[in-house]
């Protein structure tokens, strides 16, 4: 079953741009702001104060894992996240879109975790999500989650490529790289991600370690031949 998280969220695509802008302004006003920077580029970038609270402790139950922190992304932020991660990893043939394997929920778990590393990422991701919406609206479209595919792509084209970041958008580009890394990590640690890569590990077997398959050795020999290197002999 494939579905995107966005379809289950209450925010209607028919909400007017004016209403959304008002909502957006209210959220920004209510957010605890620790810093407001980048004004010289006209970028609205409000860094939230880090969350505090208990982690899972130094002796958690490893056989029945859980975490104690509450999830903190709003439905709107989750919708924006889902739209973004599905641009990073869209459905492709048999492969699911990132949101279909729970990536937005994972990013929610991540930015809600009360650890310094995760809170540093929260400080990048929350303003980044808000920026996607404001940028999309400023360019005359919908909020990011409801924008036309071309509108979303146009924004990503400005921030997603290492050597082609639009001047002034360095901070959103940093945000994008962070979400891309989390998205890839969350996707490839999922069951589907393992299957996609063909990861066969953490599966017990008896007897001696089988080692490389004949096919893998033949391939290696081919590679070494083209490089002018000899296939190793002796105790291997």
């Amino acid at each position: 079953m494939k579905h995107t998280l966005i379809n289950t969220l209450p925010l209607s695509p028919s909400v007017s741009r004016r209403t959304t802008l008002k909502w957006f302004a209210a959220v920004m006003a209510a957010a605890p702001l620790a810093a407001c920077g980048e004004s010289e580029t006209g970028l609205s970038w409000a860094t939230p104060r880090p969350l505090e609270g208990p982690g899972y402790g130094t002796d958690p139950d490893m056989l029945d894992p859980s975490y104690p922190w509450p999830l903190t992304l709003s439905p709107e932020e989750l919708a924006t996240t889902a739209a973004l991660v599905d641009l990073i990893l869209p459905a492709d043939g048999d492969a699911s879109a990132a949101s279909a394997v729970g990536v937005p929920d994972f990013i929610n778990e991540w930015v809600s975790a009360p650890y310094p590393g995760q809170q540093a990422d929260r400080g990048l991701i929350l303003p980044g999500l808000a920026w996607l919406d404001s940028e999309c609206l400023a360019r005359g479209g919908q909020r990011f989650a409801h924008a036309a595919p071309e509108a979303k792509a146009a924004i990503l084209e400005d921030i997603a490529w290492r050597d082609r970041v639009k001047p002034g958008l360095e901070k959103p580009a940093e945000f994008f790289r962070k979400v891309r890394s989390l998205t890839l990590g969350a996707y490839f640690t999922s069951a589907e991600g393992w299957d996609y890569l063909g990861y066969l590990g953490n599966t017990p077997s008896t007897g001696d370690y089988a080692g490389p398959t004949p096919e893998a050795l033949a391939h290696l020999k081919g590679v070494l031949d083209t490089m002018g290197l000899k296939m190793p002999e002796g105790p291997l």
Binding site: G55, D59, L63, Y67, L182, Y209, A210, H219, V223
Partner: protein, 557 residues
């Protein structure tokens, strides 16, 4: 109060071996462990990272990840601080659990060689050990047979072969290791079978490796050596071992004649101060904690601490030299997939290969290093995506194309003891039990920095040979070298030696000043060879414990 034949402080490699040897010899032993009871039955061996919080990545609560075996420990232990002197950097890994750090170590088990025991004689730096390789060789054989070590005898300089039957067969090399070996052979860098304390054949009740589960999670089947699946249960089976957990030892007691009579500790559950009495006291609390207990034991108000007439307790602190190089190798792209987990760590490694060049004066650093190599179709994790760019369907394909094509080279090198590096009691800070804490001072010298520079350049040559591109940054050695303590190989704070004037213990780990007080952890090391210390701690503890048992039989103790 019950009096034991021996009171052992600590349940890791040194303490576990002492408990095993002494109970087997018939002694009645009490083992005190500061942490909680632990069994590898708790180990989440086949759990998936995706089921752990944050996909199992390291956090301040679990520094090496959610599933790491370490309980109540890491770079910081809640309520048990340590301090670092101004201008120094040092970090101190502790665990508070039965079995100590043996529950999560990498199991790399390289013997120290003839040069390693006589380093001063070879290059005039540091000090020689009071024992030679030949003295310890039989104990290495016995230790390897007992704990189970895989590897191969290769006849390499200063990398001794084991005695007949001591080693188990090493697992087959994987494609990326063979590839590295092929490239290394062209430029004289050897890639050879590694040695690790992991069973590849069943012995006693322990099963061989089943080629799954990262060893750091703990090994409930007993294949990867830890004291909680071997030495401690075996000692318990004699009926001679009592284990008390949650017992934070802070002082060695002396009797009127100046002999050790036992230890004082805090029962963590109740907060009560207690005493344990024994004919022999054996400290195996770890290099840092053993020094701390000695320095905090101040019989008759002696401010220098116990067994410290040499002034060497806390001095000569060493850790392994570490630095890394990583590479991306297009030639490994798109190769056929198979299960490359294997024993989850080294099947092969690069031993130090430049002793002849060093002897000929061609290197600008003394001593050596080895290289722990990484690669393969590893379990996908949260990191390793920085080389990618853009977005969209192609990104997923790129990850697959790059899967298994990254290599890592980790330097593990020898540090020379220096007078910048030591630990002492902090005059102000105390832990939550009121015990004064350790203050560390640490600094590298040019010996280590030059070694890092040479390693970085040698690995770049190898990567070039493999057609790879270096993905780690090129920086000065001072920025690439590990932080003191980071490699968790700290040793040397109560070194053994030839005389009471220059050392804390004799060659049998017995303190010069107190005849029935023994130190059987890394604190007694005279040098920090590039070989990982645990195997040597085990062998020295076995030797010292048999020495104790002999003295007990002779009525000396």
């Amino acid at each position: 109060m019950e009096t034991y034949d021996a009171v052992i402080v600590g349940s890791g490699a040194g303490g576990g071996m002492a408990a095993y040897v002494l109970t087997k010899a018939g002694a009645k032993v009490l083992m005190l462990e500061a942490g909680r009871d632990y069994s590898p039955d708790e180990a989440p061996m086949l759990s998936f990272a995706r089921d752990a919080p944050l996909r199992g990545v390291g956090t301040p609560d679990k520094n090496f990840g959610y599933y790491d075996a370490t309980v109540d420990g890491g770079w910081q232990v809640p309520g048990e601080p340590y301090t670092v002197s101004e201008g120094s950097e040092f970090i101190w890994w502790r665990s508070r659990m039965l079995g100590g750090r043996t529950n999560h170590w990498a199991r790399n088990s390289f013997r120290m060689g003839p040069y390693d025991f006589k380093p001063y004689s070879r290059d005039g730096l540091g000090v020689d050990w009071p024992i030679s390789y030949d003295d310890i060789a039989p104990w290495y054989d016995r230790t390897e047979k007992l704990v189970g070590v895989y590897g191969a005898n290769l006849g390499m300089e200063n990398h001794p072969d084991s005695g007949p039957g001591a080693l188990q067969p090493a697992p087959k090399m994987r494609v990326w290791e063979l590839f590295m070996k092929a490239g290394g052979e062209e430029i004289g860098i050897p890639v050879v079978p590694a040695r690790r304390a992991i069973l590849t054949k069943k012995i006693d009740e322990r099963d061989p490796c089943y080629w799954a589960s990262p060893c750091g999670r703990g090994c409930g089947i007993g294949a990867a050596f830890q004291t909680t699946t071997s030495l401690i249960p075996w000692a318990r089976a004699t009926g001679k071992l009592s284990v008390e957990t949650g017992a934070m030892v802070y002082e060695v007691m002396l009797d009127a004649s100046g002999k050790a009579s036992g230890v004082r500790y805090i029962d963590k559950a109740s907060g009560a101060h207690r005493e344990a009495k024994g004919r022999v006291v054996i400290l195996a609390a770890s290099t840092g904690e053993t020094a701390r207990i000695l320095l905090n034991s101040q019989p008759n108000g002696r401010s220098e601490g116990l067994a410290n007439s040499s002034g060497q307790v806390g001095r000569n602190l060493m850790d392994t030299v570490g630095s890394n190089v990583s590479a991306y190798v297009p030639a490994l792209e798109g190769r056929p997939i198979y299960n490359e987990s294997g024993a989850h760590g080294l099947h092969a490694y690069i031993p130090f290969w430049l002793y002849q060049e060093q002897a000929a004066g061609k290197l600008n650093f003394p001593r050596g290093y080895h290289v722990e190599i990484g690669g393969g179709f590893r379990e996908p994790g949260m990191g390793g995506y920085d080389g990618l760019d853009g977005y969209g369907g192609d990104l997923r394909k790129q990850v697959k194309q790059r899967y298994g094509a990254s290599l890592g080279f980790t330097q593990r090198g020898e540090m020379i003891p220096n007078d910048k590096s030591y630990c002492e009691i902090d005059g102000d800070a105390k832990d939550k039990y009121g015990i004064p804490v350790l203050k560390f001072s640490f600094g590298w010298s040019d010996h280590e920095l030059n070694q890092v520079t040479q390693f970085q350049s040698a690995m770049r040559e190898l990567i070039d040979q493999l057609g790879g591109e270096v993905t780690s940054s090129e920086k000065p050695a001072s920025e690439l070298i590990s932080t003191g303590g980071e490699i968790i190989h700290e040793v040397g704070t109560a070194r053994m030696g030839t005389a009471a004037s220059n050392s804390v213990t004799d060659k049998f780990n017995r303190t010069w000043d107190v005849d029935n007080l023994y130190l059987v952890d890394g604190s007694v090391f005279c040098s920090k060879a590039h070989k990982n210390p645990t195997l040597t701690i085990l062998a020295l503890s076995m030797r010292a414990s048999e020495h104790i048992a002999d003295r007990m039989r002779m009525g000396e103790l």
